[in-house]
Amino acid sequence: MNDEFRYLLARAARGSLDRRAFLGRAAALGVTSTVATGLLSKAVLAQGPRQGGSLVMGLQGGESTNSLDPALAASQVPFSYLKVSGEPLVNIGADGNLQGRIAEEWTASPDATEWRFKIRSGVEFHNGQTVTAEDVAQTLRRHSNEDSQSGALGIMRGISSIAVEGDTLVLQTEGPNADLPFLLADYHLMIQPNGGFDDATAGIFAGAYKWVENEPGVRHVLEKHANYWDSSVGHFNSIEMLVINDSTARNSALQSGQVQLINRVEPRVAGLLARAPGIHVESTAGRGHYVFIMHCNTAPFDNNDLRMALKLAIDRQDMVDRILRGYGSVGNDMPINASYPLFDESIPQRQYDPDQARFHYERSGHSGPIQLRTSEVAFPGAVDAAQLFKESAAAAGIDIEILREPGDGYWSEVWNVQPFSASYWGGRPVQDQMYSTAYLSNADWNDTRFFNEHFDELLLQARGELDQTRRKAMYSEMGMMVRDEGGLICPMFNDFIDAYNDQITGWVTNPNLEMMDGLAPVQMWSAE
């Protein structure tokens, strides 16, 4: 690499030479555009984030029914705009460790029942008010209230008192809870003035971007909050989120340069999209998993032999290959994988075994078709996955009858209602939360109707256990129980697949949730 090229590269990285001109001059010096592009993006990264420019995102998962009330957020678009406009107490970093946001630091009592959070001073809401410990307390109180219908209600149930001492928030939990700060990183718990009791849908938060325009289901426009406390993030001047629910339309918008960042690339076309010039496809192994769930208390699924037969009759690797195209990993009939802290690697992997499946099926005494309900919305490829399941089960002599349900109403009429259906889970930051949400006997979303007293006891014990080795052993035992007795058939853990074009840069792998845990828009920056 000669000096002239190095000079050009530096100028291009600083932005004083535009990209096209740089590539042209590089070609004149005999450097191919692939090499030049690669070097340029490295140089840009080394240069550090550039301020300014605007970001346009194309996102799946928005409806015209979306609300700005963080309590009601449930799909990807509200998740994205809350992550960008809101500020939580803490975040879980890409490395799995906690990062203080509104909370500057925190300590627990030795028995892990009292937690104290010191509130950062000088953080400002979008309306100019200063964030106080009382605002934080009120926010948590609103989400604890049944009336708020908050998606974080389950998390808040374990908190028995919320108090303020000067600039410190004091939380008491009902039992010991070693994971509490992780739970408070939930995206519903964005701090609002007076906790949002005055107007939860006002869109006033303390995050890096403030609201300009809100057209639910169409587009959301935000601009930089000038007095944002953390100067290390929030590089774009403005962010526009377009709701593009159709996957082909989303890919086309990225390829034609109308948007710079998209979520939810279909695994089937991820490889094809990555081949397009100037497009980067990022796949991130996460905790989300695609499942088929059986109600353990409903015939014929109340018979463990039948459940075991179905678990053995699914070809997990084939599903990962065909449905995820390799963008994922096989599941093991428990909701936990290696992305979780305290995961026990020694639990044996269940394999596709039609002979064993036939053995258990015959022992269950069941005959006739088993109805499996599925839908396009259950998870991407759910209808296809059900057909693969039907084929692999047929080899074991089990007849699965597929009922495709309309996407409209699937989550209210089918999931958690019908005894055998397709579904997905986004995963949770820690094992305790995943199990408490869906496997505890009295959990709100016990969608496999799994009732096991010993399991419940273990879960409560593990929650207060500060010795990590003992805790890991408990989680391992619980995992085995779900795997061998539960109603969960978990064929695969999916990767998050997002894509951006080379007008922006600064991607960092973050396994928590899609789009760098929703923080891609505040952490990435303009490349031109």
Partner: protein, 272 residues
């Protein structure tokens, strides 16, 4: 068949070919309908003439079975809508007065609710089986046929030859089937071809919304949908069923066009 034009013969031949493939599906399909035989989206080869689909099933096999469902449902639904729609439409036009008003306004009422929304509501209350699918499609479509056949029949009904028939003392049934029907046939036949295509497209829209034929069975529209993500990357799996729909549509309409010409000359226009 005498005097058939070359294009009509071609249309009839291709239509016949499609129908034959539909009827003989289990015997001519090279693989099982939902059998997974290869990798995803393989290009066409000696083993898989049209390549494989989004799950690695043989596309030719899927096309043959899919054509069977598509042709059966579309034909049945079109038959229902035409029998019902045209007879009721003629009746309304011939009787006139309050009968016409009542029927037309009721028809308008049903039509004023968007078809798709109507179908969504009905199909979410009732189980999605083939007979129900056909009935719902046929009934919803018959409103369109009713409107057209009534409009055509009203014009014919004021013609002198109808009046002459009435003066001869012919009954309403005679007027409908012997005077109106033959004279209204040409626009109706032209419409029939289109309605058949619309029926195919309507099933595919229902499949698009998850209410159509249950998997692993499929219709052509459903196969387009299953493979649509490949379109913008040059994978032809979604285009093949589309080409099949287009070919069948054009063939059916070539026959319909010929029938249109034939009926108009039957009517004995000038020079006859």
């Amino acid at each position: 068949m005498k005097g058939m034009t070359l294009s009509a013969l071609l249309g009839l031949f291709i239509t016949g070919l499609f129908f034959a493939a539909a009827i003989l599906a289990p015997w001519i399909a090279p693989y099982g309908m939902s059998e997974i035989v290869g990798d995803i989206w393989e290009p066409s080869s000696a083993d898989f003439w049209l390549g494989t689909d989004n799950l690695g099933r043989d596309l030719l096999t899927r096309m043959i079975y899919g054509g069977r469902n598509t042709i059966f449902v579309a034909s049945a639904a079109t038959a229902v809508s035409f029998c019902l729609g045209s007879i009721l439409g003629f009746t309304a036009a011939v009787y006139g007065g309050w009968v016409d008003q009542a029927m037309s306004r009721f028809n308008d009422l049903v039509m004023s609710i968007p078809t798709l929304i109507f179908a969504l509501v009905v199909l979410s209350v009732m189980p999605v089986t083939l007979p129900i699918l056909i009935l719902v499609m046929g009934l919803l479509d018959s409103t369109r046929v009713f409107r057209l056949s009534r409009a055509v029949a009203v014009d014919i009904n004021v013609m002198d030859y109808v009046e002459a028939a009435r003066l001869r003392g012919e009954g309403q049934r005679w007027v409908i089937f012997r005077e109106i029907l033959p004279n209204a046939l040409s626009p109706l036949v032209a419409e029939l071809g289109l309605r058949f295509i619309f029926a195919i497209l309507f099933i595919s829209t229902l499949s698009f919304l998850g209410l159509g034929i249950q998997p692993p069975a499929a219709d052509w529209g459903g196969i387009v949908k299953e493979n649509r993500e490949g379109i913008v990357y040059g994978i032809p799996a979604a285009l093949i069923p589309a080409v099949a729909i287009v070919t069948l549509s054009i063939s059916v309409n070539l026959v319909a066009d010929w029938a249109l010409n034939r009926t108009t000359s039957l009517k004995g226009g000038r020079g006859a």
